[in-house]
């Protein structure tokens, strides 16, 4: 009995001396955003000169294997200078001070670069609150799976971290000084939440999606961001085939894309007024409910996709003013018809455009095929790339206008 207690005591003492994972909350370097660009190649003949690499530029690092291909930038917040602070915790910095600290390192594998950051950052990097990953266009064109593998595998990463593609240098996005929020990564992370207001923003675009798509060999899209000094704009999308980017898709096409994929959360449809009125103005309709159903029709001469879209709309703006009364059944019917024709045209043209330009099945037709007829799908799976380009879309759009606002 006595021995038992002694052993327990010793064990207790031993455990108390080692709180292995204990790390103060303020002693972690929270990484809020990551930007990945292409690294400019080193001058010829000097690739392995240690002298050239070491002292010249903090951003260079000797890599263990291969050549530095990418330039990674992480964004760490400087909390003492944050503007929106809980009161009583000290005064916040003025508007001129730096709110974030962006570190850039040129390297090859992200894990290695990540550890290299620890040579410059006084707190170990911590990724559990990563808000956004921004990737440069050129990097995306070379393929995502190599850079993103660590993000999939590491336990600290969240599957809900959003990814964005930008045509400019990704680093500039992180340099944006937002006016309301404190940190650009947080600002950027919250932008897709506006998907309820417009369909030009893609909202299901996180690491999880990309991981799923790459593993199931589906093509996917990621949102496009561009920036100015203090603003970031998120609209349009980048098309990926396999895991390489093949091109951009404009804002209007993105709208159609969302319709086809049944992922519209909100947005607008703008149509022309019927032409026989004076001037022919515009009517804007707000999307309240949207539902799309895609059914494949397998025929001998090819596969057709029947796309049935249903939309419930509210009329929110009408250019004609008081010349036309909106509370008129025939008027409403005319507008509904216009919407249907317009949307049908747009969606068909988007599909054809994507088929011709990219040949990437971003509409998830392959998943639909698989769901519809798994046996048939198993047969044609290998040929899908070719077959996709020949799929004929049959679009039916049904619009229903429910409300017209508070005026006639």
């Amino acid at each position: 009995m006595k021995n038992k207690k002694l052993i327990l005591l010793l064990m207790a003492v031993y455990f108390l001396t080692g709180c292995w994972d204990n790390q103060e909350i303020q002693e972690r370097g929270y990484v809020l955003g990551i930007a990945i660009d292409k690294a400019s190649p080193l001058p010829k003949g000097q690739e392995s000169m240690d002298e050239y690499l070491s002292e010249r530029d903090m951003e260079e690092m000797p890599v263990q294997k291969g050549q530095p291909k990418y330039s990674y930038t992480i964004q760490v917040p400087i909390l003492a200078n944050a503007r929106n602070q809980p009161s009583g915790a000290g005064s916040g910095g003025g508007s001129g001070e730096e709110v974030t600290w962006d570190l850039t390192i040129r390297g090859n594998s992200f894990m290695e670069v990540n550890r290299e950051f620890s040579t410059r950052l006084d707190y170990p990097p911590y990724y559990e609150h990563l808000q956004a990953i921004i990737i440069n266009e050129d990097v995306a064109k070379e393929g995502l799976s190599q850079i993103l593998d660590m993000f999939f595998r590491d336990h600290e990463m969240r599957r809900r971290t959003r990814i964005f593609i930008t045509p400019h240098e990704a680093k500039y996005i992180l340099d944006v000084q937002p006016r309301i929020s404190d940190f650009p990564s947080v600002y950027l992370g919250r932008l897709p939440m506006n998907a309820e207001k417009t369909s030009r923003i893609l909202h299901v675009t996180d690491l999880g999606e990309v991981s799923k798509s790459i593993h199931t060999k589906t093509d996917f899209v990621l949102p496009r961001v561009t920036s100015s000094k203090d603003e970031i704009k998120d609209a349009g999308s980048a098309v990926f085939k396999g895991d390489k980017m093949v091109g951009w898709l404009g804002e209007i096409d993105t709208i159609s894309l969302k319709w086809i994929r049944d992922s519209v959360k909100g947005g607008l449809v703008v149509v022309n007024m019927p032409e026989d009125k004076e001037g022919g103005g515009l009517v804007s309709l707000e999307v309240i409910k949207a539902k799309t159903k895609v059914t494949p029709i397998i025929e001998d001469d090819g596969i057709k996709m029947k796309i049935d879209a249903e939309a419930t709309l509210n009329m929110s703006e009408k250019f004609q003013g008081h010349h036309d009364v909106a509370l008129d059944k025939s008027f409403i019917e005319v507008v509904e018809k216009k919407v249907e024709v317009d949307m049908k045209r747009r969606m068909t043209s988007t599909i054809k455009y994507v088929q011709k330009e990219f040949g990437a099945d971003i509409f998830h037709f392959n998943r639909i095929m698989r769901k519809y007829d798994p046996r048939y799908w198993a047969e044609i799976e290998g040929n899908w790339e070719e077959l996709f380009k020949q799929v004929e879309p049959i679009v039916n759009f049904k619009a229903e206008i429910k409300q017209i606002g508070t005026m006639k």
Binding site: F15, L16, G18, C19, D21, N22, Q23, E24, I25, Q26, R28, Y30, L32, P77, L79, A80, A82, Q85, P86, G88, A89, G90, Y126, E128, H129, Q131, E156, V186
Partner: protein
């Protein structure tokens, strides 16, 4: 006639003197069995019988009580019959009124004329002359001395080898007031006092069942404290009363000053921080427990009754739950359960999550906490420890404060120290809030022992949280639960009302169902008579018939 009388008296006196002479001679030959500083034990009192000689009795008593001066021995002589009586009592413990008016007066003054001059026999005095309510007889000194020291009056008659014990207890006692530790908003507000008889009266007033059993025991070698074991015969589990009484009888201590001492001597596990019986100051709570099938133990000198067997939910039970609306009471009870766990684990959880897993917090919160901690000198663990110690110090100091400076210290301690420490940059405001919140949460618990339990548990949780993070906290909670599951009081487990799922018992634990649904007594106590009430229809149904 007068001369005859004179001769009679003279002879009587001579006889008395001879007796005294003989006593003195006897005393020379009798060994000096008594020393000056002898200590007396009740065991030897048992052997000593009342002697027929009043003087011997008086001498013996004076010997026993040489070192105290508040034992009063009053010699009474009935003039007419020349009988000598001796009255002994303790000053301060007797009700003088009883002694004067009802003991001495009837014998000396109010004697009816026809008895004047007649020698009174012992039985007559005992049965017909003393107008006190309670009279007992005793032959040996152990009972006489015990009752004398309990506040009764002794009466000795010359020539009798028996003594009378007349009940005359009356001492200053605290009046029935509001309970100091268990306040309630609704319901009765009387509480137990230090006198056993008053407490039993409080209970008797609420339980007028003739089957109410009150067993009296005396515990403590020197204190001979009265202990009453109160229960309802026919309701209680078979054998429970016997085992409790046996356990109490086995207790062998010098003194019993408070019911909590008895509580700790009859419980099964000594080395645990969890209380195993409920103690309460309120008679309504004690009576409710008796009605359920539990036993209440009352100890003379202590205003706290001990309720046995007890289960965990009793510690989180306040009488208020029974006197307010049931649905509302359920919510309040739920809060109390939540507070119990919260006040033990919150500081530990805070340390665990901020140091080990800040990823669990939403980013805004994590960044906010980080911002407040940026310039702090101490690691979280030390900070929490310091603030916890400060709160403990303040709580302990608050108990001992004289009324006058109570306000000052609470202001100084609470506001100034907390605020100043935060502003000086020594501790973060969040830690202050958390520590204050846990302290307040622990006061929602109605039972003081439960309060202390949570305070004690806080420290292991902080240690577990800072060595192993969330995992440590969960494991510690599981270890504590395992420990609590193994505690038993008199055959009833600690968690008996949760453990096998019995609908009857669950009705009164975390939630409180309306009173009309509580038809039976809790099954966990295995009562012999299970029905509490017959189905009670609500009165609304009768209104239609008006």
């Amino acid at each position: 006639m007068a001369t005859m009388r004179k001769i009679e008296l003279y002879l009587y006196n001579v006889g008395n003197d001879c007796m005294r002479l003989i006593d003195k001679i006897k005393g020379v030959f009798r060994k000096k069995a008594v020393e000056k500083d002898k200590l007396f034990q009740y065991e030897e009192f048992k052997e000593r019988y009342v002697s027929k000689s009043l003087k011997e009795n008086r001498d013996y008593l004076q010997q026993v009580f040489t070192h105290t001066k508040d034992i009063i021995i009053r010699n009474i002589t009935i003039r007419a019959t020349k009988q000598n009586l001796m009255i002994v009592f303790v000053d301060g413990m007797v009700d003088r009124n009883v002694v004067n008016e009802h003991l001495i007066k009837p014998i000396l003054i109010d004697m009816a004329p026809e008895n004047y001059g007649r020698r009174l026999s012992f039985e007559e005095i005992r049965d017909s002359f003393i107008s006190a309510a309670e009279i007992k007889e005793a032959e040996t000194f152990d009972e006489l001395v015990l009752q004398l020291l309990s506040g009764d009056t002794l009466l000795f008659l010359e020539g009798q080898n028996r003594g009378l014990i007349i009940g005359s207890k009356g001492w200053e006692s605290r009046g029935i007031s509001e309970p100091t530790t268990e306040a309630n908003v609704q319901g009765p507000k009387d509480c137990f006092v230090e006198t056993l008889q008053n407490n039993i009266t409080s209970i008797r007033r609420r339980i007028r069942d003739p089957n109410l059993a009150i067993e009296m025991l005396k515990v403590g070698r020197r204190s001979k404290t009265d202990v009453a074991v109160v229960y309802l015969k026919g309701v209680i589990m078979d054998g429970l009363a016997q085992s409790v009484i046996e356990k109490i009888k086995k207790v062998d201590v010098d003194s019993l000053l408070d019911s909590s001492q008895l509580e700790y001597l009859i419980e099964e596990r000594k080395w645990t921080i969890f209380p195993q019986s409920v103690n309460t100051e309120r008679p309504d709570k004690a009576c409710a427990a008796i009605f359920e099938g539990r036993i209440a133990i009352l100890v003379d000198g202590s205003p706290f009754a001990v309720l046995v067997p007890s289960t965990f939910s009793m510690y989180l039970d306040a009488s208020d739950d029974y006197y307010t609306r049931p649905l509302v009471a359920s919510l309040v009870r739920f809060t109390r359960y939540f507070c119990y766990f919260l006040s033990a684990s919150l500081p530990g959880l805070y340390v665990a999550i901020t140091n080990f897993h800040p990823g669990m917090l939403p980013p805004r919160l994590a960044l906010a906490i980080t911002t407040t901690r940026v310039a702090l000198p101490f690691p979280t663990f030390v900070e929490v420890f310091i603030m916890e110690s400060v709160i403990e110090i303040m709580q302990e100091a608050g108990l001992r404060l004289p009324q006058a400076i109570g306000q000052t210290v609470s202001i100084v301690g609470g506001i100034v120290i907390g605020q100043a420490a935060v502003q000086a940059g020594l501790v973060s405001p969040i830690v202050t809030i958390i520590v204050a919140l846990t302290a307040i949460a622990s006061f929602t618990l109605p039972n003081y022992n439960a309060n202390l339990t949570t305070r004690t548990l806080r420290i292991p949780f902080i240690i577990a949280g800072s060595t192993f993070g969330f995992f440590g906290i969960v494991m510690l909670a599981l270890a504590i639960l395992s420990h609590m599951s193994a505690i038993e009081t008199f055959g009833v487990g600690y968690f008996e009302d949760f453990s096998p799922y019995r609908l009857r018992d669950l009705k009164d634990t975390m939630v409180k169902v309306p009173a009309s649904l509580m038809k039976d007594r809790p099954e966990l106590l295995k009562p012999q008579d299970t029905v509490r009430q017959v189905n009670n229809k609500s009165s609304g149904e009768n209104q239609d018939e008006k």
